[in-house]
Protein backbone atom coordinates (compact mmCIF):
# COMPACT_ATOMS: atom_id res chain seq x y z
CA UNK A 1 0.00 0.00 0.00
CA UNK A 2 1.27 3.47 -0.81
CA UNK A 3 2.29 5.47 2.22
CA UNK A 4 0.01 8.45 1.51
CA UNK A 5 -0.22 9.60 5.08
CA UNK A 6 3.44 10.50 5.51
CA UNK A 7 3.42 12.40 2.19
CA UNK A 8 0.55 14.57 3.31
CA UNK A 9 1.86 15.21 6.78
CA UNK A 10 5.24 16.40 5.58
CA UNK A 11 3.63 19.24 3.61
CA UNK A 12 1.43 20.62 6.40
CA UNK A 13 3.68 23.58 7.15
CA UNK A 14 3.14 25.14 3.81
CA UNK A 15 -0.62 25.01 4.33
CA UNK A 16 -0.17 27.34 7.28
CA UNK A 17 1.72 29.75 5.05
CA UNK A 18 -0.90 29.62 2.32
CA UNK A 19 -3.70 30.15 4.83
CA UNK A 20 -1.91 33.13 6.31
CA UNK A 21 -1.43 34.61 2.86
CA UNK A 22 -5.13 34.19 2.07
CA UNK A 23 -6.12 35.85 5.35
CA UNK A 24 -3.82 38.78 4.57
CA UNK A 25 -5.39 39.29 1.18
CA UNK A 26 -8.85 39.13 2.78
CA UNK A 27 -7.96 41.87 5.29
CA UNK A 28 -6.65 44.14 2.56
CA UNK A 29 -9.76 43.64 0.45
CA UNK A 30 -12.01 44.41 3.43
CA UNK A 31 -10.05 47.58 4.08
CA UNK A 32 -10.59 48.55 0.45
CA UNK A 33 -14.36 48.05 0.79
CA UNK A 34 -14.54 50.16 3.96
CA UNK A 35 -12.53 52.91 2.31
CA UNK A 36 -14.80 53.11 -0.68
CA UNK A 37 -17.81 53.42 1.65
CA UNK A 38 -16.09 56.26 3.50
CA UNK A 39 -15.15 58.02 0.27
CA UNK A 40 -18.69 57.71 -1.09
CA UNK A 41 -20.13 59.25 2.08
CA UNK A 42 -17.55 62.03 1.87
CA UNK A 43 -18.41 62.84 -1.73
CA UNK A 44 -22.13 62.69 -1.06
CA UNK A 45 -22.08 65.04 1.93
CA UNK A 46 -19.74 67.67 0.60
CA UNK A 47 -20.99 71.19 1.07
CA UNK A 48 -20.93 73.94 -1.53
CA UNK A 49 -17.18 74.06 -2.05
CA UNK A 50 -17.12 76.49 -4.95
CA UNK A 51 -18.94 79.18 -2.99
CA UNK A 52 -21.80 79.65 -5.39
CA UNK A 53 -24.25 80.36 -2.57
CA UNK A 54 -22.16 83.41 -1.67
CA UNK A 55 -23.10 84.89 -5.03
CA UNK A 56 -26.78 84.45 -4.26
CA UNK A 57 -26.47 85.65 -0.65
CA UNK A 58 -24.82 88.82 -1.81
CA UNK A 59 -27.42 89.26 -4.54
CA UNK A 60 -30.07 89.41 -1.80
CA UNK A 61 -27.95 91.93 0.12
CA UNK A 62 -27.61 94.16 -2.95
CA UNK A 63 -31.35 93.96 -3.56
CA UNK A 64 -32.03 95.02 0.05
CA UNK A 65 -29.46 97.83 -0.01
CA UNK A 66 -30.73 99.34 -3.24
CA UNK A 67 -34.28 98.92 -1.93
CA UNK A 68 -33.42 100.87 1.23
CA UNK A 69 -31.93 103.70 -0.82
CA UNK A 70 -34.93 103.69 -3.20
CA UNK A 71 -37.43 103.89 -0.33
CA UNK A 72 -35.52 106.76 1.27
CA UNK A 73 -35.33 108.69 -1.99
CA UNK A 74 -39.03 108.16 -2.77
CA UNK A 75 -39.93 109.45 0.69
CA UNK A 76 -38.37 112.83 -0.02
CA UNK A 77 -41.40 115.03 -0.59
CA UNK A 78 -41.48 117.65 -3.25
CA UNK A 79 -38.64 116.42 -5.46
CA UNK A 80 -39.42 115.61 -9.06
CA UNK A 81 -38.63 112.44 -10.92
CA UNK A 82 -35.36 113.55 -12.53
CA UNK A 83 -34.02 114.70 -9.15
CA UNK A 84 -34.96 111.36 -7.67
CA UNK A 85 -33.29 109.46 -10.48
CA UNK A 86 -30.12 111.51 -10.17
CA UNK A 87 -30.05 110.96 -6.43
CA UNK A 88 -30.61 107.23 -6.88
CA UNK A 89 -27.91 106.98 -9.51
CA UNK A 90 -25.34 108.54 -7.20
CA UNK A 91 -26.51 106.39 -4.30
CA UNK A 92 -26.17 103.21 -6.33
CA UNK A 93 -22.67 104.26 -7.41
CA UNK A 94 -21.77 104.71 -3.76
CA UNK A 95 -23.32 101.37 -2.84
CA UNK A 96 -21.39 99.65 -5.60
CA UNK A 97 -18.09 101.22 -4.62
CA UNK A 98 -18.54 100.63 -0.89
CA UNK A 99 -19.88 97.11 -1.42
CA UNK A 100 -16.99 96.29 -3.72
CA UNK A 101 -14.54 97.37 -1.03
CA UNK A 102 -16.24 95.24 1.62
CA UNK A 103 -16.37 92.21 -0.64
CA UNK A 104 -12.77 92.59 -1.77
CA UNK A 105 -11.67 91.96 1.80
CA UNK A 106 -13.29 88.55 1.40
CA UNK A 107 -11.67 87.76 -1.92
CA UNK A 108 -14.58 88.65 -4.20
CA UNK A 109 -15.04 91.14 -7.00
CA UNK A 110 -18.52 92.67 -7.08
CA UNK A 111 -19.98 95.38 -9.27
CA UNK A 112 -23.45 96.94 -9.34
CA UNK A 113 -24.51 99.17 -12.21
CA UNK A 114 -27.68 101.03 -12.97
CA UNK A 115 -28.73 102.64 -16.22
CA UNK A 116 -31.33 105.25 -15.29
CA UNK A 117 -33.58 104.20 -18.14
CA UNK A 118 -33.96 100.77 -16.48
CA UNK A 119 -36.71 101.86 -14.17
CA UNK A 120 -40.47 101.92 -13.85
CA UNK A 121 -42.03 105.18 -12.87
CA UNK A 122 -44.92 105.47 -10.52
CA UNK A 123 -46.86 107.65 -8.14
CA UNK A 124 -46.54 107.90 -4.38
CA UNK A 125 -49.67 108.70 -2.39
CA UNK A 126 -49.06 109.66 1.21
CA UNK A 127 -50.00 111.65 4.27
CA UNK A 128 -47.27 112.93 6.56
CA UNK A 129 -49.33 114.57 9.29
CA UNK A 130 -49.37 112.13 12.18
CA UNK A 131 -52.11 113.93 14.09
CA UNK A 132 -54.59 113.84 11.26
CA UNK A 133 -57.12 111.14 10.47
CA UNK A 134 -57.18 109.45 7.08
CA UNK A 135 -59.96 111.54 5.58
CA UNK A 136 -59.66 113.36 2.28
CA UNK A 137 -58.68 116.96 1.87
CA UNK A 138 -62.32 118.01 2.09
CA UNK A 139 -62.80 115.90 5.23
CA UNK A 140 -64.82 113.10 3.61
CA UNK A 141 -64.67 109.94 5.65
CA UNK A 142 -65.48 107.63 2.76
CA UNK A 143 -63.38 108.53 -0.22
CA UNK A 144 -61.62 107.15 -3.28
CA UNK A 145 -57.86 107.49 -3.54
CA UNK A 146 -57.16 106.27 -7.07
CA UNK A 147 -58.88 105.65 -10.38
CA UNK A 148 -59.95 102.15 -11.21
CA UNK A 149 -57.32 100.17 -13.07
CA UNK A 150 -55.17 97.12 -13.15
CA UNK A 151 -52.14 98.39 -11.29
CA UNK A 152 -49.70 97.19 -8.65
CA UNK A 153 -49.09 98.81 -5.31
CA UNK A 154 -46.04 98.34 -3.14
CA UNK A 155 -44.74 99.38 0.24
CA UNK A 156 -48.12 100.25 1.74
CA UNK A 157 -47.28 101.35 5.28
CA UNK A 158 -49.48 102.93 7.92
CA UNK A 159 -48.13 104.46 11.09
CA UNK A 160 -51.17 104.51 13.37
CA UNK A 161 -50.87 106.98 16.25
CA UNK A 162 -52.80 106.76 19.51
CA UNK A 163 -54.37 103.40 18.67
CA UNK A 164 -56.22 103.03 21.93
CA UNK A 165 -57.96 106.37 21.55
CA UNK A 166 -58.52 106.75 17.87
CA UNK A 167 -59.28 103.29 16.55
CA UNK A 168 -62.75 101.90 16.70
CA UNK A 169 -63.13 99.16 19.34
CA UNK A 170 -63.73 95.56 18.35
CA UNK A 171 -67.30 94.84 17.36
CA UNK A 172 -68.11 98.45 16.70
CA UNK A 173 -70.11 99.28 13.65
CA UNK A 174 -67.73 101.56 11.84
CA UNK A 175 -64.11 100.55 12.01
CA UNK A 176 -61.60 101.90 9.52
CA UNK A 177 -61.60 99.92 6.26
CA UNK A 178 -59.08 99.88 3.46
CA UNK A 179 -60.78 98.59 0.30
CA UNK A 180 -59.50 97.50 -3.11
CA UNK A 181 -62.87 97.73 -4.87
CA UNK A 182 -63.61 96.19 -8.25
CA UNK A 183 -66.33 98.57 -9.39
CA UNK A 184 -66.94 96.78 -12.68
CA UNK A 185 -68.19 93.63 -11.01
CA UNK A 186 -70.64 94.51 -8.28
CA UNK A 187 -69.45 93.89 -4.78
CA UNK A 188 -66.16 92.17 -5.45
CA UNK A 189 -63.55 93.70 -3.23
CA UNK A 190 -60.51 92.99 -1.08
CA UNK A 191 -60.83 94.75 2.22
CA UNK A 192 -59.02 95.13 5.52
CA UNK A 193 -60.36 96.55 8.77
CA UNK A 194 -58.32 97.78 11.71
CA UNK A 195 -59.83 97.69 15.19
CA UNK A 196 -58.74 98.07 18.76
CA UNK A 197 -59.31 95.34 21.31
CA UNK A 198 -58.99 96.35 24.95
CA UNK A 199 -60.15 93.04 26.36
CA UNK A 200 -57.18 90.79 25.60
CA UNK A 201 -55.98 88.79 28.60
CA UNK A 202 -52.46 90.09 28.11
CA UNK A 203 -53.39 93.71 27.60
CA UNK A 204 -54.39 95.84 24.68
CA UNK A 205 -54.32 94.71 21.11
CA UNK A 206 -54.74 95.70 17.50
CA UNK A 207 -56.98 93.42 15.41
CA UNK A 208 -56.65 93.31 11.63
CA UNK A 209 -59.35 91.50 9.62
CA UNK A 210 -58.85 90.70 5.95
CA UNK A 211 -61.56 89.53 3.56
CA UNK A 212 -61.46 88.82 -0.17
CA UNK A 213 -63.69 87.04 -2.71
CA UNK A 214 -61.86 83.72 -2.62
CA UNK A 215 -61.83 83.16 1.12
CA UNK A 216 -63.66 83.92 4.35
CA UNK A 217 -62.54 86.63 6.69
CA UNK A 218 -59.28 86.02 8.56
CA UNK A 219 -57.94 88.09 11.40
CA UNK A 220 -54.72 88.48 13.29
CA UNK A 221 -54.11 90.19 16.60
CA UNK A 222 -51.08 92.10 17.76
CA UNK A 223 -50.48 93.02 21.35
CA UNK A 224 -49.64 96.66 21.89
CA UNK A 225 -46.85 97.73 24.18
CA UNK A 226 -47.84 99.98 27.05
CA UNK A 227 -47.63 103.66 26.17
CA UNK A 228 -46.25 102.88 22.76
CA UNK A 229 -48.14 105.75 21.21
CA UNK A 230 -48.01 104.32 17.71
CA UNK A 231 -48.18 101.09 15.73
CA UNK A 232 -46.53 100.46 12.38
CA UNK A 233 -48.79 98.42 10.11
CA UNK A 234 -47.12 97.23 6.91
CA UNK A 235 -49.98 96.10 4.63
CA UNK A 236 -47.95 94.78 1.69
CA UNK A 237 -45.19 93.48 3.94
CA UNK A 238 -47.74 91.68 6.13
CA UNK A 239 -46.36 92.79 9.48
CA UNK A 240 -47.51 94.77 12.51
CA UNK A 241 -44.64 96.38 14.43
CA UNK A 242 -42.26 93.90 12.84
CA UNK A 243 -44.31 90.82 13.79
CA UNK A 244 -45.70 88.98 10.79
CA UNK A 245 -49.46 88.82 10.32
CA UNK A 246 -50.75 85.80 8.41
CA UNK A 247 -54.04 87.48 7.59
CA UNK A 248 -52.19 89.79 5.21
CA UNK A 249 -49.82 87.25 3.67
CA UNK A 250 -50.55 83.59 3.21
CA UNK A 251 -52.59 81.12 5.25
CA UNK A 252 -51.23 77.81 6.39
CA UNK A 253 -54.15 75.76 5.13
CA UNK A 254 -53.96 72.99 2.52
CA UNK A 255 -54.09 75.38 -0.41
CA UNK A 256 -51.75 78.00 1.03
CA UNK A 257 -54.46 80.58 0.32
CA UNK A 258 -52.88 83.95 -0.37
CA UNK A 259 -54.41 86.95 1.40
CA UNK A 260 -52.11 89.63 -0.01
CA UNK A 261 -53.32 93.12 -0.80
CA UNK A 262 -55.47 93.09 -3.93
CA UNK A 263 -55.89 89.33 -3.96
CA UNK A 264 -59.03 88.19 -5.73
CA UNK A 265 -59.59 91.40 -7.68
CA UNK A 266 -58.02 92.26 -11.01
CA UNK A 267 -59.07 95.83 -11.63
CA UNK A 268 -59.67 97.92 -8.57
CA UNK A 269 -59.68 101.36 -7.05
CA UNK A 270 -58.37 102.05 -3.58
CA UNK A 271 -60.84 103.47 -1.08
CA UNK A 272 -60.80 104.45 2.57
CA UNK A 273 -64.01 104.02 4.57
CA UNK A 274 -64.65 105.46 8.04
CA UNK A 275 -61.40 107.34 7.75
CA UNK A 276 -62.20 109.21 10.97
CA UNK A 277 -61.71 106.01 12.92
CA UNK A 278 -57.95 106.04 12.46
CA UNK A 279 -55.19 108.60 12.82
CA UNK A 280 -51.62 108.73 11.63
CA UNK A 281 -49.54 108.66 8.47
CA UNK A 282 -49.74 106.42 5.43
CA UNK A 283 -47.75 105.97 2.26
CA UNK A 284 -47.79 103.69 -0.75
CA UNK A 285 -46.30 103.67 -4.23
CA UNK A 286 -48.25 102.58 -7.30
CA UNK A 287 -46.87 101.79 -10.73
CA UNK A 288 -47.48 103.89 -13.85
CA UNK A 289 -50.88 102.28 -14.54
CA UNK A 290 -52.22 103.94 -11.39
CA UNK A 291 -53.76 107.36 -11.89
CA UNK A 292 -55.47 109.79 -9.56
CA UNK A 293 -57.19 112.13 -12.02
CA UNK A 294 -60.72 111.00 -11.15
CA UNK A 295 -60.07 110.45 -7.46
CA UNK A 296 -61.08 112.65 -4.54
CA UNK A 297 -58.72 115.34 -3.28
CA UNK A 298 -55.75 114.04 -1.37
CA UNK A 299 -54.60 115.88 1.76
CA UNK A 300 -51.13 116.02 0.20
CA UNK A 301 -50.56 115.98 -3.54
CA UNK A 302 -49.32 112.66 -4.88
CA UNK A 303 -45.65 112.74 -5.80
CA UNK A 304 -43.87 111.34 -8.81
CA UNK A 305 -41.92 108.34 -7.61
CA UNK A 306 -39.81 105.49 -8.89
CA UNK A 307 -41.74 102.22 -8.73
CA UNK A 308 -38.92 99.81 -9.49
CA UNK A 309 -35.38 99.73 -10.85
CA UNK A 310 -33.38 96.97 -12.48
CA UNK A 311 -29.66 96.90 -11.70
CA UNK A 312 -26.90 94.82 -13.26
CA UNK A 313 -25.07 92.65 -10.78
CA UNK A 314 -21.70 90.98 -11.33
CA UNK A 315 -19.96 88.69 -8.86
CA UNK A 316 -16.55 87.11 -9.45
CA UNK A 317 -14.31 84.90 -7.37
CA UNK A 318 -11.53 82.60 -8.51
CA UNK A 319 -14.08 79.78 -8.87
CA UNK A 320 -17.39 81.47 -9.62
CA UNK A 321 -18.49 84.05 -12.18
CA UNK A 322 -22.10 85.20 -11.80
CA UNK A 323 -23.94 87.97 -13.64
CA UNK A 324 -27.61 88.79 -13.52
CA UNK A 325 -30.19 91.58 -13.46
CA UNK A 326 -31.84 92.33 -10.17
CA UNK A 327 -35.27 93.97 -10.08
CA UNK A 328 -35.67 96.06 -6.96
CA UNK A 329 -39.20 96.93 -5.84
CA UNK A 330 -39.21 96.98 -2.04
CA UNK A 331 -42.43 95.92 -0.37
CA UNK A 332 -43.99 94.46 -3.51
CA UNK A 333 -46.63 91.82 -3.02
CA UNK A 334 -45.76 88.40 -4.47
CA UNK A 335 -47.80 87.76 -7.59
Amino acid sequence: MANLGSNRRSDRGQIILVAAFLLAVTFVVLALVVNSAIFTENLATRDDVAGSHDALDHRAEVQASVGTALTSINNENGTDLSDKKGNLSKSIDNISQAGGLHQSTQGRLVDVNWDSSDSEEGVRIYQNNASRNFSSDSRDDDWVLTDSGNFDVRNFQMNITEPEEELFPLGGSEPFRLVANDTSDGDIEWNMTVEYDGSLPTGEGLVVNVDHPNHDEVSCTHELEDDAGFVLLDVTGASIDGESCHALSQLQDEDGTPMWFGEGVDEYQIEFQNADSIQGTYSFVGDDSMSTTGADDHPEDPDEAIYSVTVDYEFYTSQVAYETDIRVAPGEVPS
Partner: protein
Amino acid sequence: MVTSGENAAGDTRGQALTLEALTAAILILAAIGFALQMTAVTPLSASTSSQHVENQLQSSSQGVLGSAADSGALHEAVLFWNTTEQEFHNVSGDEQFYRSGAPSNDFGNATDQVFSDRNVAYNVFVHYQTEDGVETQQMVRQGEPSDHAVSASRTIELTDDHRIVKKDGSLNQTLSELDDDEFYIPQQDEDNAHYNLVRVEVVAWRI
Protein backbone atom coordinates in the same frame (compact mmCIF):
# COMPACT_ATOMS: atom_id res chain seq x y z
CA MET B 1 2.75 2.54 11.60
CA VAL B 2 5.12 5.20 12.75
CA THR B 3 8.37 3.94 14.23
CA SER B 4 9.67 5.53 17.39
CA GLY B 5 12.51 7.32 15.70
CA GLU B 6 10.32 9.30 13.37
CA ASN B 7 8.18 12.23 14.35
CA ALA B 8 5.16 13.49 12.40
CA ALA B 9 6.75 15.27 9.51
CA GLY B 10 10.24 13.92 9.45
CA ASP B 11 13.43 14.74 11.44
CA THR B 12 14.87 17.53 9.38
CA ARG B 13 11.69 19.60 8.82
CA GLY B 14 11.42 21.22 12.28
CA GLN B 15 13.27 24.43 11.59
CA ALA B 16 11.62 24.90 8.21
CA LEU B 17 8.21 24.49 9.79
CA THR B 18 9.03 27.02 12.48
CA LEU B 19 10.25 29.45 9.86
CA GLU B 20 7.09 29.03 7.85
CA ALA B 21 4.90 29.53 10.91
CA LEU B 22 6.77 32.68 11.84
CA THR B 23 6.49 34.01 8.32
CA ALA B 24 2.78 33.28 8.33
CA ALA B 25 2.35 35.13 11.61
CA ILE B 26 4.33 38.12 10.37
CA LEU B 27 2.33 38.17 7.16
CA ILE B 28 -1.00 38.21 9.01
CA LEU B 29 0.13 40.88 11.45
CA ALA B 30 1.44 43.04 8.64
CA ALA B 31 -1.82 42.66 6.73
CA ILE B 32 -3.89 43.60 9.79
CA GLY B 33 -1.66 46.60 10.51
CA PHE B 34 -1.84 47.73 6.88
CA ALA B 35 -5.62 47.36 6.73
CA LEU B 36 -6.18 49.35 9.92
CA GLN B 37 -3.84 52.14 8.86
CA MET B 38 -5.47 52.38 5.42
CA THR B 39 -8.93 53.22 6.77
CA ALA B 40 -9.51 56.84 5.90
CA VAL B 41 -10.43 59.46 8.46
CA THR B 42 -11.62 62.55 6.61
CA PRO B 43 -12.80 65.98 7.83
CA LEU B 44 -16.33 64.83 7.14
CA SER B 45 -16.11 61.71 9.33
CA ALA B 46 -18.34 61.72 12.34
CA SER B 47 -16.41 63.27 15.19
CA THR B 48 -16.53 66.40 17.32
CA SER B 49 -14.24 68.16 14.86
CA SER B 50 -16.24 67.22 11.77
CA GLN B 51 -16.48 69.86 9.07
CA HIS B 52 -20.26 69.51 9.26
CA VAL B 53 -20.26 71.03 12.74
CA GLU B 54 -18.51 74.14 11.45
CA ASN B 55 -20.77 74.34 8.42
CA GLN B 56 -23.83 74.11 10.63
CA LEU B 57 -22.56 76.92 12.85
CA GLN B 58 -21.89 79.04 9.78
CA SER B 59 -25.40 78.42 8.48
CA SER B 60 -27.07 79.34 11.73
CA SER B 61 -24.95 82.50 12.02
CA GLN B 62 -25.90 83.46 8.49
CA GLY B 63 -29.53 82.74 9.34
CA VAL B 64 -29.52 84.95 12.42
CA LEU B 65 -28.01 87.82 10.45
CA GLY B 66 -30.44 87.32 7.57
CA SER B 67 -33.56 87.32 9.69
CA ALA B 68 -32.31 90.26 11.76
CA ALA B 69 -31.66 92.24 8.58
CA ASP B 70 -35.10 91.40 7.22
CA SER B 71 -36.99 92.50 10.32
CA GLY B 72 -34.96 95.68 10.75
CA ALA B 73 -33.31 94.48 13.96
CA LEU B 74 -29.83 94.70 12.42
CA HIS B 75 -30.34 98.36 11.52
CA GLU B 76 -31.57 98.98 15.05
CA ALA B 77 -28.51 97.26 16.53
CA VAL B 78 -26.05 99.29 14.43
CA LEU B 79 -27.87 102.53 15.31
CA PHE B 80 -28.23 101.66 19.04
CA TRP B 81 -25.60 104.27 19.92
CA ASN B 82 -25.35 106.72 22.79
CA THR B 83 -24.20 109.93 21.14
CA THR B 84 -23.20 111.64 24.38
CA GLU B 85 -21.22 108.83 25.94
CA GLN B 86 -19.87 107.59 22.57
CA GLU B 87 -20.67 103.95 23.23
CA PHE B 88 -23.49 101.49 22.65
CA HIS B 89 -26.41 101.77 25.06
CA ASN B 90 -26.29 99.78 28.32
CA VAL B 91 -22.64 98.86 27.97
CA SER B 92 -20.97 97.84 31.22
CA GLY B 93 -17.41 98.86 31.94
CA ASP B 94 -15.16 101.33 30.16
CA GLU B 95 -15.25 100.05 26.60
CA GLN B 96 -17.61 101.06 23.85
CA PHE B 97 -18.80 97.51 23.21
CA TYR B 98 -20.65 94.75 25.04
CA ARG B 99 -18.62 92.21 26.97
CA SER B 100 -20.00 88.85 28.07
CA GLY B 101 -23.62 89.73 27.40
CA ALA B 102 -25.70 90.41 24.34
CA PRO B 103 -26.96 93.85 23.31
CA SER B 104 -30.25 94.81 24.92
CA ASN B 105 -32.16 95.00 21.65
CA ASP B 106 -33.94 92.61 19.28
CA PHE B 107 -30.68 91.57 17.58
CA GLY B 108 -29.16 90.76 20.96
CA ASN B 109 -32.20 88.68 21.87
CA ALA B 110 -31.90 86.72 18.64
CA THR B 111 -28.18 86.00 19.03
CA ASP B 112 -28.76 85.07 22.65
CA GLN B 113 -31.35 82.50 21.67
CA VAL B 114 -29.32 81.01 18.87
CA PHE B 115 -25.87 81.05 20.39
CA SER B 116 -25.79 81.32 24.15
CA ASP B 117 -28.18 78.45 24.77
CA ARG B 118 -25.99 76.16 22.69
CA ASN B 119 -22.62 76.94 24.25
CA VAL B 120 -21.42 79.02 21.35
CA ALA B 121 -19.46 82.20 22.02
CA TYR B 122 -19.43 85.00 19.47
CA ASN B 123 -17.91 88.36 18.61
CA VAL B 124 -19.74 90.95 16.54
CA PHE B 125 -17.94 93.55 14.44
CA VAL B 126 -19.30 96.46 12.44
CA HIS B 127 -17.19 97.37 9.41
CA TYR B 128 -17.89 100.75 7.87
CA GLN B 129 -16.40 102.96 5.17
CA THR B 130 -14.28 106.01 5.88
CA GLU B 131 -12.10 108.17 3.69
CA ASP B 132 -9.10 106.05 4.65
CA GLY B 133 -10.77 102.74 3.81
CA VAL B 134 -12.70 100.27 5.90
CA GLU B 135 -12.66 100.64 9.68
CA THR B 136 -14.08 98.41 12.35
CA GLN B 137 -16.11 99.04 15.48
CA GLN B 138 -16.53 96.13 17.85
CA MET B 139 -20.06 95.56 19.11
CA VAL B 140 -19.72 92.38 21.18
CA ARG B 141 -16.58 90.75 22.51
CA GLN B 142 -16.85 87.42 24.29
CA GLY B 143 -13.23 86.32 24.02
CA GLU B 144 -10.60 85.12 21.60
CA PRO B 145 -11.97 82.79 18.89
CA SER B 146 -10.73 79.18 18.76
CA ASP B 147 -9.20 77.52 15.71
CA HIS B 148 -12.59 76.26 14.60
CA ALA B 149 -14.34 79.64 14.57
CA VAL B 150 -16.61 80.52 11.66
CA SER B 151 -17.45 83.93 10.30
CA ALA B 152 -20.71 85.11 8.75
CA SER B 153 -21.47 88.62 7.58
CA ARG B 154 -24.31 90.71 6.23
CA THR B 155 -24.17 94.06 4.46
CA ILE B 156 -26.77 96.72 5.20
CA GLU B 157 -27.33 100.17 3.78
CA LEU B 158 -27.72 103.25 5.97
CA THR B 159 -29.49 106.25 4.45
CA ASP B 160 -29.66 109.86 5.60
CA ASP B 161 -33.15 109.43 7.01
CA HIS B 162 -32.38 106.49 9.28
CA ARG B 163 -32.58 107.53 12.92
CA ILE B 164 -30.38 106.87 15.93
CA VAL B 165 -32.15 104.59 18.40
CA LYS B 166 -32.43 105.60 22.04
CA LYS B 167 -32.01 103.29 25.01
CA ASP B 168 -35.73 102.56 25.24
CA GLY B 169 -36.01 101.71 21.55
CA SER B 170 -37.57 104.97 20.43
CA LEU B 171 -36.11 106.97 17.57
CA ASN B 172 -33.97 110.07 17.85
CA GLN B 173 -32.42 112.37 15.27
CA THR B 174 -31.78 111.38 11.68
CA LEU B 175 -28.26 110.52 10.66
CA SER B 176 -27.95 113.59 8.47
CA GLU B 177 -28.65 115.84 11.47
CA LEU B 178 -25.80 114.44 13.54
CA ASP B 179 -22.42 116.09 13.94
CA ASP B 180 -19.32 114.26 12.78
CA ASP B 181 -18.14 113.30 16.23
CA GLU B 182 -21.48 112.08 17.57
CA PHE B 183 -21.73 108.80 15.70
CA TYR B 184 -19.03 106.26 15.01
CA ILE B 185 -20.03 105.83 11.35
CA PRO B 186 -19.21 108.89 9.20
CA GLN B 187 -21.33 110.13 6.30
CA GLN B 188 -19.80 109.00 3.08
CA ASP B 189 -21.41 111.37 0.60
CA GLU B 190 -23.48 114.42 1.39
CA ASP B 191 -25.29 115.11 -1.85
CA ASN B 192 -27.38 111.98 -2.06
CA ALA B 193 -29.47 109.70 0.14
CA HIS B 194 -26.67 107.21 0.81
CA TYR B 195 -25.09 107.57 4.25
CA ASN B 196 -22.81 104.54 4.54
CA LEU B 197 -22.71 100.84 3.65
CA VAL B 198 -22.01 98.75 6.72
CA ARG B 199 -20.98 95.10 7.02
CA VAL B 200 -21.92 93.35 10.26
CA GLU B 201 -19.72 90.33 10.92
CA VAL B 202 -20.40 87.60 13.48
CA VAL B 203 -17.50 85.30 14.47
CA ALA B 204 -18.77 82.27 16.39
CA TRP B 205 -17.06 79.28 17.95
CA ARG B 206 -18.02 76.41 20.21
CA ILE B 207 -16.85 76.44 23.80
